[in-house]
């Protein structure tokens, strides 16, 4: 079960699906690109995370229409999008707080 705060790989997977629906390999490449090559997921790790997100109803799987052999793709559910927004809010708060504290220490 996924809980907030999210781990970095899960956050990047959700961000990858926030813009558009993607299939497995596209998610792998997108996560790698978003993190500038810092987070490189293996297929086993990616599908473990996708399975958990599917079970928690954060994402859903569907068959891509214009794809060979009925390839499966993933997209965010309304609940997944809500949770992603909550996580972004939390991170914004932390970033703001950190900036304030660090600035106060430096001045």
């Amino acid at each position: 079960m996924e809980t907030l705060p999210l781990t970095e790989p899960v956050l990047l997977i959700l961000l990858s699906l926030a813009g558009q629906a993607q299939h497995g390999y596209a998610i792998l490449k997108d996560v790698e690109a978003m993190s500038n090559g810092r987070v490189v997921l293996s297929t086993g790790t990616l599908y473990g995370a996708l399975r958990r997100l599917l079970e928690d109803d954060w994402i859903e799987r569907f068959e891509e229409e214009e794809s060979p052999r009925g390839r499966q793709a993933y997209r965010l559910t309304p609940q997944g999008r809500r949770n992603l927004q909550l996580e972004i809010q939390r991170m914004k708060h932390i970033t703001r707080l950190a900036s304030l504290r660090v600035a106060r220490q430096e001045s």
Binding site: G24, L28, V40, S42, T43, G44, Y47, G48, R51
Partner: protein, 177 residues
């Protein structure tokens, strides 16, 4: 390489394989195609990463499956309606400690009586008294640790031989009443 990955995917639980294995193989196939142009060192790195990921994933899925089944079993009524808490309540630990204390006290009292009896009475007097309780207290943790380790090794062997019964949990379903 795909044959290797296919073998590794066999380590996943049946339900998971049915749902994701084709898709995972398609991803691995795409990755192999892309890596074919790279250097041998990079290709080897990808293979190691994917192998480790699949092994870890299979282990996680089996662990999840076992823990989920245990959770389900604890809530159904009837034959499997036993929770861990009922099988070994915390009060048992208190009672066991009391019994151990009683046994040690009895040994100590026996020792005191034996040493208070004069040695020259003959066959009634003990020849040599060992401080039994100290040996018992020192030896018991070792004794339990030894049998616990032996049990773990035995279970690991049964698991490797697929005789532990865990593998049969794949096809097991529990209906809640």
């Amino acid at each position: 390489m795909i044959a290797w990955y296919r073998k590794l995917l066999c380590l996943y639980p049946a339900e998971y394989r049915k749902r994701f294995s084709e898709e995972m193989l398609a991803v691995l196939f795409q990755e192999r195609e892309e890596n074919a142009k790279r250097r041998l060192k990079n290709r080897a790195r990808v293979v190691v990463r994917e192998t480790a990921g699949l092994l870890r994933g299979a282990l996680n899925e089996h662990f999840r499956m076992i823990t989920e089944i245990h959770e389900q079993l604890s809530f159904v009524t009837g034959r499997f309606a036993m929770r861990n808490g009922f099988r070994f309540p915390k009060s048992t630990i208190v009672f066991m400690a009391l019994i151990l204390g009683g046994v040690l006290t009895a040994i100590k009292m026996g020792e005191d009586i034996a040493t208070s009896v004069p040695h020259d009475i003959g066959p009634i007097a003990p020849i040599h008294i060992q401080p039994v309780h100290s040996i018992l207290l020192g030896g018991m943790p070792l004794f339990f640790a030894f049998f616990y380790a032996a049990g773990l090794i035995g279970w690991a062997i049964l698991f490797a031989l697929r005789r532990s019964g865990v593998h049969r949990l794949d096809s097991m379903s529990v209906e809640q009443k």
